[in-house]
Each structure stands twice: as structure tokens, then as C-alpha cells.
């Protein structure tokens, strides 16, 4: 038992198996996302909606609506999963996740400022504001968390994130209370849902997603070196400063963009990389792309669960992921030596 586990940690020999599993799961969760909801759609209507544009029926229309939602949730999940993987490897810290580090709240504050003072309402405007907010918050939290001895330990980072998050959300409240229209827009955004995704948001999201994913894949080998420690990475010829900057930038782009469009969805960035690491081990070259799939699958399944549980309405996906993710966080803290790492 022990031995096989150790083997799994060191060689991604389960990769082919995982790849097949991932593909099967991807297909399954796409089908589930198309078929289930407040109205369950049968196989025939599903095919009608997808491949026979001539057929006009209520069910077929529902399926076509759900296609967009599914694509959107895949994109968000992938972005969040990779963002988590990047942040974890840059900080060499297993508990890094955009929601825990307060980056989401930073994006939220920026979006509220945008709605309140600049009258923004389009997806593309949301994204730019959210990105700036996420970037500034990330710099701030990492700055505070890595002060002092031992650099950015999990505890320091999480506390810095929680405190920053609390301060920023008070500011969000302070901005919203006198403005009821902002409040209305914001209240539903705040929970985190992929239901609001439309073609416009998909097109806005796409370039950010692609750039972020590309950087993640390109920096993966150097991140492997970084995992051996700063000194070791330097002696292997990695420019650690530039690497950390680039990789965190990609992480922030990914989670900032996803947050701007779907609202703050927590814990995907924590869950996805850890699940993959459990099976494949810590090799970043496999971890990055597979985290994207894992994130997409987890988010989409969470969305389906939310739709089924919340029927006839829906349970927002941000709530579902918090419920799945928080126990994992607790489990991790129980395993990890808090002082160490």
C-alpha cells in the first residue's frame, strides 16, 4: 500500500489512465450539465438541441441555453484550477487559493468601484477593473505575508489574506449601502454563479484564459526547478525573480478574469491541483494542464449539483464549492505541518 503510494508520487505513470478518466469525466459532466437542471431533458431532446437546429422545441432551446452555460463554467473552472496551481507553486505553499488569499475580494472591490463611480456594465469593463483589483490585492497580501522570518508560510499568508479580505469587504459594503442599484447588481454577483455567462462574456474571457494557460504551460519546467528551493533553482539557471513574477501574473489574470465574470467562486484553485497531485505527483508539466481539466470538471459538476439541489431555482455554484472545498482545506491543515513549508 505504502509502496504503491510512493511510486505514484514519483512517476506520473498513471498519466494515461488519468487522461482517459479525465476525458470520460469531461464528456459525462458536459452531458450532465446539458441535461439536468430545473427541467431534466431527455436524450432525444438533447440531440435535437445540439445537432438539429431546425427542430424548435422548448427542451431543445433549454439545451442550447445550457451549452453556453457549460462552456462558460468549463472556462471558469479551468482558469481557477490553473490559477490555484500557479499560486501554490510560486509560493511553495499548499494552501494558496485566490479566495483564501483575498484576491477575489480585491477584484470584487474594484468591480464595485467601477459600478459605483464609472458606471461600468459590460463584461469587458468588469474584467479590466477586476484584474487591476486582483493584481493590487495579490501584491499586497503576498507582501505582508512574506515579511519576517521564514518567508510566506501558509499561516501568515492565510491570515494576511483573511484580514485583507475583511477590510476590503467592509469597504465594499461602505460603497454599496448608499447606492441601492449597485447593491442589487452586486448581491447576485457576490455569491458566485456561472448562470450569468453569455456569449459576450465567453469572448471577453477567451484571450485572458489562453494567455494565462500558455504562461502556465511554458513556465511549468522552471516551476519544477523552483520546487527544489530558491537556491537550487538559481543554480539550475532559473531566474527565480522573473519566473515568480510571470507565473503569479498569469495566476492573477486567470482568477481575476474568472472572478470578474462569474463572481467569487472559492476553493476550485485549492481542490483541483491537490486532486491531480494526489494521483500524478508534483510534476508541474502535467499538473498545469490537468489542473485545468480538474477545475473545469469540479466546477461544472458543482454547478449541476447546485441546479439539482436548488431546483426549481438553483443553488449558486459558489456555495456548493465552498461546501466541498472547506473540508479539504481543513484536511490539508491537519496533514501539513503548519510551521513548516
Amino acid at each position: 500500500m505504502m509502496q504503491t503510494q510512493i511510486k505514484q508520487m514519483h512517476t506520473p505513470k498513471h498519466f494515461p489512465l488519468l487522461l482517459i478518466g479525465t476525458l470520460v469525466l469531461t464528456v459525462l459532466c458536459i452531458l450532465a450539465s446539458l441535461a439536468f437542471g430545473s427541467r431534466t431533458v431527455g436524450w432525444n431532446e438533447l440531440l435535437d438541441g445540439l445537432f438539429r437546429p431546425a427542430v424548435q422545441s422548448y427542451e431543445a432551446d433549454i439545451v442550447r441555453e445550457r451549452v453556453i452555460r457549460t462552456i462558460f463554467s468549463f472556462m471558469c473552472g479551468a482558469a481557477l484550477g490553473v490559477a490555484g496551481a500557479l499560486m501554490q507553486s510560486v509560493t511553495r505553499n499548499p494552501i494558496a487559493d485566490p479566495s483564501i488569499l483575498g484576491v477575489n475580494t480585491g477584484a470584487a472591490l474594484a468591480v464595485v468601484i467601477g459600478i459605483a463611480f464609472f458606471n461600468i456594465s459590460t463584461a469587458s469593463a468588469f474584467i479590466w477593473f477586476a484584474l487591476v483589483g486582483a493584481l493590487l490585492t495579490a501584491i499586497f497580501v503576498f507582501g505582508i505575508g512574506s515579511l519576517g522570518r521564514g518567508g510566506a508560510t501558509p499561516l501568515k499568508l492565510v491570515l494576511a489574506g483573511a484580514a485583507t479580505s475583511a477590510a476590503l469587504s467592509s469597504l465594499v459594503m461602505a460603497l454599496m449601502i448608499p447606492r441601492s442599484n449597485v447593491m442589487d447588481q452586486f448581491r447576485f454577483w457576490q455569491v458566485g454563479s456561472v448562470g450569468a455567462g453569455n456569449l459576450d462574456s465567453i469572448y471577453t474571457f477567451l484571450p485572458f484564459l489562453l494567455i494565462g494557460l500558455m504562461i502556465a504551460v511554458v513556465t511549468a519546467p522552471s516551476l519544477n526547478a523552483l520546487a527544489l528551493g530558491e537556491e537550487m533553482a538559481k543554480s539550475l539557471g532559473v531566474r527565480t525573480g522573473t519566473l515568480k513574477l510571470t507565473a503569479s501574473f498569469a495566476g492573477v489574470i486567470l482568477c481575476g478574469a474568472a472572478t470578474a465574470l462569474a463572481g467569487p467562486i472559492g476553493f476550485i484553485g485549492l481542490l483541483a491541483p491537490h486532486l491531480i497531485r494526489l494521483v500524478l505527483g508534483p510534476d508541474q508539466r502535467y499538473l498545469m494542464p490537468m489542473s485545468a481539466f480538474a477545475g473545469a470538471i469540479i466546477l461544472t459538476f458543482s454547478d449541476v449539483i447546485g441546479r439539482l439541489l436548488g431546483s426549481p431555482g438553483e443553488l449558486e455554484v459558489g456555495i456548493v464549492t465552498a461546501f466541498i472545498g472547506a473540508p479539504i482545506l481543513i484536511l490539508l491543515t491537519m496533514k501539513v505541518k503548519v510551521r513548516g513549508l
Binding site: A166, I177, I330, M334
Partner: protein, 342 residues
């Protein structure tokens, strides 16, 4: 030999004087703020009118405003502030870390979640809500304690587990607020950041009775708490039944926290701020539950006055304390990081 003893005695006297003096000063400030809470509002009533209303006289106009609107608000602020302040400092002292307070480790969130569940789903009475919030708080404490016990107990793990639990409970609250038909903004504010808006006189007795019972109990236990702060071994050596004392302190603190939360919502950061501020004022030689309770009252009332009157819009008290409290938490973190206290 003799001068040394004299010096120690003088030092002790000095600290004692500082403690008593500061406590008196804090009491005076708290009383003044309570008076202001009654005087200020859309119409400002002079103090004579307020006193006459409180003595039961009927003053035209003032009676309604003071008795129905302002008195419940003031009382809710006073008792919740005292409860948050005292309970916060008990946890901080017992766990010997300012970060280990009910806000950061999610105890108040447990109470909030239970209370919101009762209100939204069960639509239960005040009594049930109070009991549920107590149970919610106690269960949260137990869960956090057992999950963070592990092989070696560490404050770091406690805090991380607490933050995880808090994330889950906040999701519950968010969900409940979304499905509730009465999802008005005031209610959301109350349960997410804490607010004195809409405090009613008939809702206050559970909180008031609990604080009036629990606060004296924990004040009587102040010496024992000071010894607990020295560590398990030292406290046992000094003749303290550590488990019993700790249990009593925790239960009393959670009762106060839970009822304060059920009445006003989790007013952000009071439980976190009151203890350290009180320590800085009265010196570190005392556990200072009473000063912390007074500082809690002052913070809540002052923040509520600021929230009501300093800006064109009216802000609930939790927003103001959040904006004040979070930077302080960051400052504390930075200082602890520099000293390498982790």
C-alpha cells in the same frame, strides 16, 4: 533587601493605580457615549429631557424617539459590546495569542449561521433563536477544537481550521439570505457584518440576562485566567483545576458571544480589538476582562455614532468597525512577522 521589597510594592501600587484609573476613565467614556446615543438623532434632545424620559415622565416628542428608537439601540450596543469584548479577550488570553479570537476562528459565524437558519427556515421565536445560536457557537468551538487537536496542538492549525469552517458557514449564511423571501438589505447587513438597526426592547432580555450572569462569573475567574495564561503546568502548580476553569470560561464566553450575535449580528472585529486595546491602556499585568468589556462597549457605541452621523448615508456599525479593525489586524500581523512570533 528592604528597598527591593519597597520597590516591588511601589511598582505593584503603580500598576494597580493605573488599572483602577484607566478602568474608571473607560467607564466614564462609556457612560458619556451611552448618553450621546440617547441624545443624538434626527432631533437632538438635551440631557435633561433624556433623563426625564428615563425617569418615566412624558416629554412631548422625546418619549417616543428616546424610549422606542434610541434606548434599545443603546442597550443592544452596550451589552453586545461588553459581551464581544469580554469573550474576545478570554479566548485571546487563554490561547495566548491575539489572533485566536472568536472573529478569526469563526465562532461568531457559527452562531450567526444557526440564528439565520432559525429565522429563515424555521421562522422560530426569539427564545429558540437564542438557544440555537448558543448551540451553534458551542458546536463550532467543539468542532474547531477537535479538528485542530491532532498530534500536536498549535494555534496556527486552530486558526487555519477556523478559517475553513468560517468559509463554509459563510456560504450557508449567503445561501439562506438568498432563499429567504424577506431578503432585505438590512437583514443581510445584520447577519454579515453586524448592525444595531432595528433593535427592539422586547428582543433584548436574553442578551441582557446572559451578560449580567456571565460577566460577573468570568470577572470572578480573572485570577484563574491570569494563571492559565502562564501555561498548563504553571497553572496546575498554582492550584488551579485547569480543565474545570477552562470549561467554565469557554462556556460563559460562548454564551455571551452567541446571544450578542443573535441580537446584533457578528459586529466585525470587536472581539478581536477590545482585548489588545485594553491591554495597551491598563498595562499587561492584568488579564483585564473588565477593561476589555468597557473598550468593547466604547468601540461599538462610538462606531455606531460615527456610522449614523458622520456621513451622508447611514452605515451599520459593523461596516465601520470592519474598516477600523482590519487594518489593525494587518498591523498586528506585520509586527508579529517582524518579531518572528509565528
Amino acid at each position: 533587601m528592604q528597598p527591593a521589597i519597597e520597590q516591588i510594592r511601589q511598582g505593584r501600587m503603580k500598576r494597580r493605580r493605573r488599572y483602577v484609573g484607566m478602568t474608571l476613565l473607560l467607564t466614564i467614556i462609556a457612560v458619556v457615549l451611552s448618553g450621546l446615543m440617547l441624545m443624538l438623532g434626527n432631533t437632538i434632545y438635551p440631557i435633561q429631557d433624556v433623563i426625564r424620559v428615563l425617569l418615566g415622565e412624558d416629554v412631548k416628542g422625546a418619549t417616543f424617539a428616546v424610549e422606542v428608537l434610541r434606548l434599545p439601540r443603546m442597550l443592544a450596543g452596550v451589552f453586545a459590546g461588553a459581551a464581544f469584548g469580554a469573550a474576545g479577550t478570554i479566548f485571546q488570553t487563554m490561547l495566548r495569542n491575539p489572533l485566536a479570537n472568536p472573529n478569526v476562528i469563526g465562532i461568531t459565524t457559527g452562531s450567526s449561521a444557526a440564528a439565520v437558519f432559525c429565522i429563515v427556515v424555521l421562522q422560530s421565536s426569539e427564545a429558540v433563536i437564542s438557544i440555537a445560536s448558543i448551540i451553534g457557537g458551542l458546536v463550532t468551538v467543539l468542532v474547531i477544537y477537535f479538528l485542530s487537536k491532532g498530534a500536536a496542538f498549535s494555534i496556527g492549525r486552530l486558526v487555519l481550521v477556523g478559517i475553513g469552517i468560517q468559509a463554509m458557514l459563510t456560504a450557508v449564511i449567503n445561501y439562506l439570505l438568498l432563499i429567504s423571501r424577506q431578503n432585505d438589505v438590512a437583514m443581510a447587513m445584520r447577519w454579515l457584518t453586524g448592525s444595531l438597526n432595528g433593535a427592539k426592547l422586547e428582543e433584548l432580555p436574553p442578551l441582557m440576562i446572559t451578560v449580567l450572569i456571565c460577566l460577573p462569573i468570568v470577572l470572578l475567574l480573572t485570577r484563574q485566567l491570569e494563571m492559565l495564561e502562564l501555561g498548563e503546568m504553571a497553572a496546575t502548580g498554582l492550584g488551579i483545576n485547569t480543565n474545570q476553569t477552562r470549561l467554565l470560561l469557554i462556556v460563559a464566553a460562548v454564551f455571551m458571544l452567541a446571544l450578542a450575535t443573535a441580537t446584533t449580528g457578528p459586529i466585525a472585529f470587536i472581539a478581536f480589538l477590545a482585548g489588545p486595546i485594553a491591554k495597551r491602556l491598563v498595562g499587561t499585568s492584568h488579564a483585564g476582562i473588565l477593561p476589555a468589556a468597557l473598550v468593547g462597549i466604547i468601540l461599538v457605541l462610538a462606531a455606531d455614532l460615527v456610522g449614523q452621523f458622520a456621513f451622508t448615508a447611514r452605515y451599520p456599525v459593523g461596516v465601520i468597525t470592519g474598516i477600523i479593525g482590519a487594518p489593525y489586524l494587518l498591523y498586528l500581523l506585520i509586527r508579529m512577522n517582524q518579531k518572528g512570533d509565528f
